[in-house]
Structure formats: structure tokens, C-alpha cells
């Protein structure tokens, strides 16, 4: 079944078109990486898919349920209650973590399950501790975000997203704000999630990483998908522009 379906997504800012016409669908267990130069619309695509940004046109569906569609040439979103339910299907990991600074790591992870999903506190904490153990942050549960390294903060924010048990997880350049030395821990966590067949869409500049773990790589440029396919297809693409771009990042 298609977890996510995007059809003809369009988005512009102040008359400047950022997404021309993007169609994309993701099956359960699939790992998709989105690469491309800055300004190509990767992040906007992610922000429209996670409904942080309203798209101007097109269709957005999660598990067959429409979140947004076009009516008389205008983009219409489902009503609040329905959008709320649809939001539960996905999680998003931000480039700069966006942890809540006034909560401990544990509270960052348990607060949404408890106050949004009404999960009993004890259950939420057990789930959180299990995640923290998996992500190697067990001893940091009582720390505040400012006391953690960037890599630890990003892992905590991944735990926070996973605690709501989403069906699909988006990553917006999860290692771009990290020291090269710290990216390893985060990539390792994502790799492990891929092994467990977590459905993921990852915007990244880590070419080697994308190659090794993705089922599919999408190359975006100027608001359109210029090329997509299995990692080996993209890495040996007949399209010179794609090869040149990848070459720049893999050195």
C-alpha cells in the first residue's frame, strides 16, 4: 500500500515558483533519499508534505486518505480534525533539532504521547526509555538539550519523533547542522531504522550514505524531479548534470 502519495504538487512564494510539479509515492518500508542543489525545492517539498507549508496546487494523501486536493483549480485542505488524524501518520526530524529547551530529554520524548495521544505516563516513559536505549542515550534522560552535543540532540529528536509511532518519518538534512565527527552517530541510527524497515524520506547531502541505504534516490533541480531510480542507476546516470552533482559531494 502507498503510505504517501503526492500528485502534481505546486508551491510558490510571492509569485516565485519553487515546486513546479512534483509527483511521488512511497510504499511501506521504502527508504527514499532526495538530493539536489540548494534552492532545488527539496526542503519545500518536505515542508509541504508535512503540512508546515500549504501547497498551492496538487494532491496529498497519506494511507489513501486525502489531506489536500484540488477543487476548481484551488488547493483545498481537509478539515482540522481529519488533518490532526493524518498528522499522526508521519514524523519529522528537523535540521536544527528543535528540541524543547525547557524539557529534559525524557520529557521531550514523552510529552507529546502523553498530552496529545493521551498515552498513560508510565507507558510513554517505558516506550521512551526503550528508544533511548536503542539510540544510546539512556544516561541522558534527565539532561536538558543544551547539555547535549549536536549529535545527541539530533538522536533525542529522532526518539521524540519515533515515540509517536509514525508510519513514515521525514528527515530534513538531519546531519547538516552537525560537525563531521558527529554525523556518524546520527547516520548509524538512521541506518538501523532502515534495517527495521521504517519508511523514511530523507533530504540529505550525504551521497555515500544515501547510496548505501536508499531503495530509491530522487534528484531534484529547479522545482522538478530531474531524475530518480535505484542508487546504482542514479550514480551511473546517463544524465551528466546528475553525475556532476554527485561527483562534487563524493569528492
Amino acid at each position: 500500500m502507498e503510505l504517501l502519495e503526492i500528485k502534481h504538487m505546486k508551491k510558490g512564494f510571492d509569485g516565485l515558483s519553487v515546486l513546479e510539479d512534483i509527483s511521488l509515492s512511497v510504499k511501506e518500508g521504502e527508504v527514499t533519499s532526495i538530493i539536489g542543489p540548494s534552492g532545488s525545492g527539496k526542503s519545500t517539498l518536505l515542508r509541504c508534505a508535512t503540512m508546515l507549508e500549504r501547497m498551492d496546487g496538487g494532491e496529498l494523501k497519506y494511507l489513501g486518505e486525502a489531506a489536500a486536493w484540488e477543487e476548481n483549480g484551488r488547493c483545498v485542505y481537509a478539515e482540522k480534525q481529519k488533518l490532526r488524524r493524518i498528522r499522526k501518520h508521519f514524523g519529522l526530524v528537523f535540521q536544527n533539532f528543535n528540541l524543547f529547551p525547557h524539557y529534559t530529554v525524557l520529557k521531550n520524548i514523552t510529552d507529546a504521547p502523553v498530552s496529545v495521544d493521551k498515552t498513560p505516563k508510565k507507558e510513554a516513559e517505558e516506550r521512551a526509555m526503550k528508544l533511548l536505549r536503542q539510540l544510546g542515550l539512556e544516561d541522558k534522560k534527565d539532561a536538558y538539550p543544551y547539555q547535549l552535543s549536536g549529535g545527541q540532540q539530533q538522536r533525542a529528536s529522532i526518539a521524540r519523533a519515533l515515540a509517536l509511532q509514525p508510519k513514515i518519518l521525514f528527515f530534513d538534512e538531519p546531519t547538516s547542522a552537525l560537525d563531521p565527527e558527529l554525523t556518524g552517530d546520527v547516520l548509524k541510527v538512521i541506518r538501523e531504522l532502515a534495517k527495521e524497515h521504517m519508511t523514511m524520506i530523507i533530504v540529505t547531502h550525504e551521497m555515500q550514505f544515501a547510496k548505501e541505504l536508499s531503495d530509491r534516490i530522487i534528484f531534484m533541480e529547479r522545482g522538478v524531479i530531474r531524475s530518480q531510480g535505484k542508487p546504482e542507476e542514479i550514480f551511473s546516470s546517463p544524465d551528466e548534470r546528475v553525475r556532476e552533482f554527485i561527483g562534487k559531494f563524493t569528492g
Binding site: T50, R84, L92, P101, H102, V116
Partner: protein, 249 residues
């Protein structure tokens, strides 16, 4: 009153007389000078009203300021305009005048007879309305300083708008605005003395009365000491609060 009994209006002799009392030199002061303790106790009684004005003003102006900040940041242009005008008038005219307007407007505008009991209410109302304007701007700056990523994270995690504001945003805002709020609060302590224009018997009103009666500045100086001590306590309390919020950055 002879002219010698009104030294506060005559700098030359007045200062000599009052300093005499201030330094406790009985011979140079008035023969019937009030004892230091009596002044002290009278001022202390006035202090009760001062403290009451202070706390009641905070109690009403802090939430009112938050509501006003919401209006000021509203997407509705008319609401934005009204709150902007309100804040500008409240900040741009003397609080003393506002006290008078609040006290007399029921009579002049609605023809309602002003009862004696309204005096204290008018003082609190005027102070709360005035301070809400200042607090609104402090809240607004604080709310605007929270990174948009906090809202986005909360949204993706499914928090409602109310939950986002009260659980995620407001606690961080409070920490950030504590220093300017302390400033405003200290100003409020001193501003309570303006209640004298409505003859509200708070500390400064009493100090002035005694000063006039005794032809001495001692009560005024003593009142100054009281305000200073009160503010030490206020600043100390706020510092405590800041320390308690120091557990995160």
C-alpha cells in the same frame, strides 16, 4: 499658618529646619516635632496600601498585558490597530492624568455619582490599564523572540495551538522577559506614590501629610528608605525567580 510654619515652600529656612529634624537635633527643629517612631509607624500603615496597590496591579495587569499582546499580534488588522492605539496612548500620557481620568470619568461621561469606595478601585483600575500596556510590549517582544522551529516542532508532534502556546512557548517567554519585567515592576513600586492625586492614603500621601504638618522633610526621606527596601525585596525576589529558571538555556 504663618510663613515660618511653611518652610517647605521657602528653601532657605525650610531646609535648615527640616535637616535639623532629620538629624534628630531637637533644638533647631520644631518644639512639637513628631518622634521618629511615630513617623515610622504612620508610614508603615501607609505601606499596607502601597503593597496592596502593587500586588493588585500586578495581578490584573500581567494577564491583561498578555491578552493585549495577543490583540497586538493578531492577524485581524482592526484589532491590531485598536491595541496599537491603546498602547500608544497609555504609554504616551502621564499616569497621573490617567488616574484622574479613570476616577472622574464615571461622573463626567456617565453622570454616575462617584462613591467614596470607588477611590481605591479607580487607583487599581488606572494602574492595571497603564501597566498592561507596558507588559503587552514586553510579552510581544518575548513571544517574537522564540524561534519558529519551536512552533513547527509542536505542530508536527500534534500539539494543539493552545497546548503549543502554554506548554512550549510561554515558559520560554517567561524566562526571556524576566529582566524587563523586573524593571517595570520596580518602576511600579515607585509609581504607586502617584495614587496621592486621588488622595488615596498610601505611604507617600501620608509622608507628604506629615511633612506638611511637621514642616520637615524627614517623613519624605523615610518614605524614600521604605521604597528602597521594598524594591530591594522585589529585585531579590525576581533574581530568585531568574535563578530558578536557570536550569535550561
Amino acid at each position: 499658618m504663618t510663613k515660618w510654619q511653611r518652610p517647605l515652600q521657602r528653601k532657605d529656612s525650610g531646609l535648615v529646619l527640616s535637616m535639623g529634624t532629620f538629624w534628630g537635633n531637637g533644638r533647631k527643629g520644631m518644639g512639637t516635632a513628631m518622634k521618629m517612631e511615630t513617623i515610622f509607624f504612620q508610614l508603615l500603615k501607609g505601606m499596607g496600601a502601597t503593597v496592596e496597590i502593587f500586588f493588585l496591579t500586578l495581578l490584573f495587569s500581567l494577564p491583561l498585558g498578555l491578552a493585549l499582546a495577543f490583540c497586538r499580534m493578531s492577524r485581524r488588522k482592526w484589532l491590531q490597530g485598536i491595541s496599537k492605539l491603546y498602547i500608544s496612548v497609555m504609554r504616551g500620557t502621564p499616569l497621573m492624568l490617567q488616574l484622574i481620568v479613570v476616577y472622574f470619568s464615571p461622573y463626567y461621561i456617565f453622570g454616575v455619582k462617584i462613591s467614596a469606595g470607588y477611590r481605591f478601585g479607580a487607583v487599581i483600575l488606572a494602574f492595571a490599564l497603564n501597566y498592561a500596556a507596558y507588559f503587552a510590549e514586553i510579552y510581544r517582544a518575548g513571544i517574537a523572540s522564540i524561534p519558529v522551529g519551536q512552533y513547527e516542532a509542536a505542530k508536527v508532534l500534534g500539539y494543539s495551538r493552545g497546548q503549543t502556546f502554554f506548554k512550549i512557548i510561554l515558559p520560554q517567554v517567561v524566562k526571556r522577559i524576566l529582566p524587563p519585567v523586573t524593571n517595570e515592576t520596580i518602576t511600579l513600586v515607585k509609581d504607586t506614590s502617584l495614587a496621592f492625586v486621588l488622595a488615596q492614603a498610601e505611604m507617600f500621601t501620608i509622608a507628604k501629610q506629615i511633612a506638611a504638618k511637621e514642616t520637615s522633610v524627614t517623613p519624605l526621606m523615610a518614605a524614600g528608605v521604605f521604597y528602597y527596601i521594598f524594591n530591594l525585596a522585589v529585585a531579590g525576589g525576581m533574581e530568585c525567580l531568574e535563578k530558578r529558571l536557570d536550569y535550561y538555556r
